[in-house]
Amino acid sequence: MLETLQRRRILPARLHITDLIMGVVGLLLVLLIVYGSIRSLAIGKYSGVQWLSFVVAGLVQGSVYALIALGYTLVYGILRMINFAHGEIFMAGAFTTYFLAESIDGRGWLDAHPFLSLIAMMLFAALVSMLVAVMLERIAYRPLRGAPRLIPLITAIGASFFLQYTFRGLYGSGVERYPRAEAFKGDLMLGSLAIPKVDLVVIVSAVVLMLALYFFVQRTKAGMAMRAVSEDKRVAALMGIDVDGVIVMTFGIGGALAGAAGVLYALIFGQVQFFMGFIPGLKAFTAAVLGGIGNIPGAMLGGLFLGIVESVGPFLFLEGLGVPSPNQLKDAIAFTLLVLVLIFRPTGILGERVTKRA
């Protein structure tokens, strides 16, 4: 039967046994997820409002992922490289801004002008992260342009460790508590759904930043140059675009977004430390891949999607399967999602570019 299907070109002409195995595994996973979800809903442990609050928490988390993911996507779009150290750029901004936040709080300005302080903190974090990102590009990545693909990737891994432990050495290895303005404490009631005020602040800030980026890329001359370079570096250079300048700018913008995201992240979790960039970095990369790496709206969508899956997934997919403390496995769900996307749809949800030699 297989053979007739192949001859009629309904199935690909060449099917390897491993393709079949992967297909079956994928199918089993889907069945498991569906079964788990049905069981979880049937048990009825959580009410509708609770599910909704999971979704909101996911959106909040996801909007931070989305902001970080934009950095991956922008750099990938232009250099076709994964800036593995991007999570550390995020950390650098958030961690450094802790000291600013402390001193603002110490003077009582944080409670007096919560929004102004937030903006100041985000700007400061963006500046720090931008500096780190630009220096990273200048020192570590620029000399390697055109090197075999593994070399920049290994460099990026090295840079990631260097940054983590440099900041540990500079600021210490402890967990620092981020101050939170009085105005952002407490919940906002929407019917019976309680939404923490912080969550609203985070979502609104993230949306504003994303819109700003979108406008920048689509409407400004610099954004146009960026798009041109991402299409074809050589042609862009021939058109008189300063390619090196655009690359630096891309790292800078990606870094700035990551820094701002760092402040939002610290706002949600209320603490910072030197290792905080690693896991969000990986998650944001997942988000970028989900949306189709190199694709700006894709990174935004991917981030939100990942946030929701991560927050709802453990309770929806796993609870019904009788897995104890399913929330422990939320990172595993995110990574499984990453693996599945990379295997079955490496171009991502919105990606149209065929990444042949990714």
Binding site: F161, G169, L329, V339, I343
Partner: protein, 585 residues
Amino acid sequence: MPRSIQGRLGAAAASGVYGGLALLLAALVGMFEQFAKRPILAPLAGRGEPVTLDLVLLLGGLLVIGYLVARRSAGPDSIAVAKPVPELAAGLAGAAAGLVLALYVLTASRIDLTGILINAKPFLVDFLSLGGGAGPAGLARPVLAGLLLALAGAGLALLPDRWRPGVNRGLMAVVLLGTLQSVLTRQVDWVTQSRRAGGLVAAVVDWVYANKGVAPRGVLAILALALALSVGVRPLRAGLERRFRRLPADQQVRSARLLRGLRVTLLLCLLMWLPLGLGTYPSDVMDTVGIYILMGLGLNIVVGFAGLLDLGYVAFYAIGAYTVAVLTSPASGIGLGFWAALPVALLVSIGFGIVLGIPVLKTHGDYLAIITLGFGEIIRILAISDALKPWLGGARGIQLIPAALRIPLRRFPLVGTMDPQLQQEMYYPILAAVGLALYLAWRLRGSRYGRAWMALREDEEVAEAMGINLVGTKLFAFATGATMAGLGGALFASKVQTIFPASFNLLISINILVLIIVGGMGSIPGVFVGALALVALPELLREFSDFRLLLYGVVLVIMMLNRPEGLWPTAIARRELSSKEAPSA
């Protein structure tokens, strides 16, 4: 490249500023303070304080700045440049670096930075100003020191090629021996006590070292020895080689074979003797190094030969360890012996190697790296989770894993009355495993399978067009790598007897990756060099452990930028390097 004299000097000053910033960064992450406790050079005539590692590194750093800048400005096209330019450039760079430090002193002595930078303590002001404090002396001293040391470095750099390597190696040997003083003397004490032997070694060590640091006579002796070795050995070797060439061909082959046999036998004897001769702690270090070598050999096949950048290699290490643990620990109630569990562990590792290999068959480069990293994390998260706790013990792990080997060592001659510890016993199975892995790697590399891997690494599509089955070749690489990691994990479990999920984090994968990159990707001896440099050294130098990962990061970046082929590159890469360097030398 700026080639005018002004341009050169400008570039030199910029290099000096970068170098100074690097030193300042090292200071601010707390490196110097940490190293202040280790004496390197004993004071002259036994008076005063010894020179400690922190000062050696700071001054050495300034020296290196001068050395590098002078080397660069005395590059191949220097013939046209006036003679003193390299010295001038080096001095300028050194002074610039010193100025950076002086500026820090100026700032930090007026503004309290400790609220943000935890290491910006008064110690640092005192140290970076070289004892000059916040006054004018504190500003002048670093600049002056930078100038003088950089000039010294330039002098070193401009030594004739005949002498330079010897002097360089001698200086490095002094620092290394000074750093290793406590380890070495402790070791010698142990040997002489336990064996009443090694009197000569003890005497030499006593002569070289003062109470704290290398004695001045020791410094001179080491420098002289290094020079003699590098200057004297070359003609000696050439003479021997000439005489060897004059032998008839069949005799050449025979004596070469004999020599090799002799060397291998000697090496084997030494390796067998080491744990008994050195005691528990060195054996423990050697066990760790051995396990890393084992895994390095495996990952070298996957990454170095086949070019598949696997960042989740720790997964197979964990699988090997957990399989043995579950099968042998009394907690699970299966209660197999180690040797019965080992084959199962290996089969499970191979199985996982293939199962996790299948999904990544169609991905390349970065994506493959990220997927494998994801797998590694998933395995660790599963091991730590409550879901698998009944079997894997959750975060508490599995205890009471039996040792692989209990040797009645007392019965052997030469062992003496010592009661061997677990670390010494475990050395032998680890040594055997490393030997086996080495043999496997070596055989495969020279076969059609090894060539297929390398073709895959170079160009996957063309490899397929040459008749290579991609699926089989890739899965074989993953499975071989997984076997070696599984073996390493099994031995690790048996050595530490208690395993936790926390022992199997991403850092292990990174460590192994770094060691094969430092050694030279694809190079089998490189794995040994890398493991000795990156696992043994930090084990012996405890102060470094805080900065281990920071230094790994630096090493990775610098290696990729300057020497991507590693410290001990493959034979072919080495030939290429020398042919590239030849015209400039």
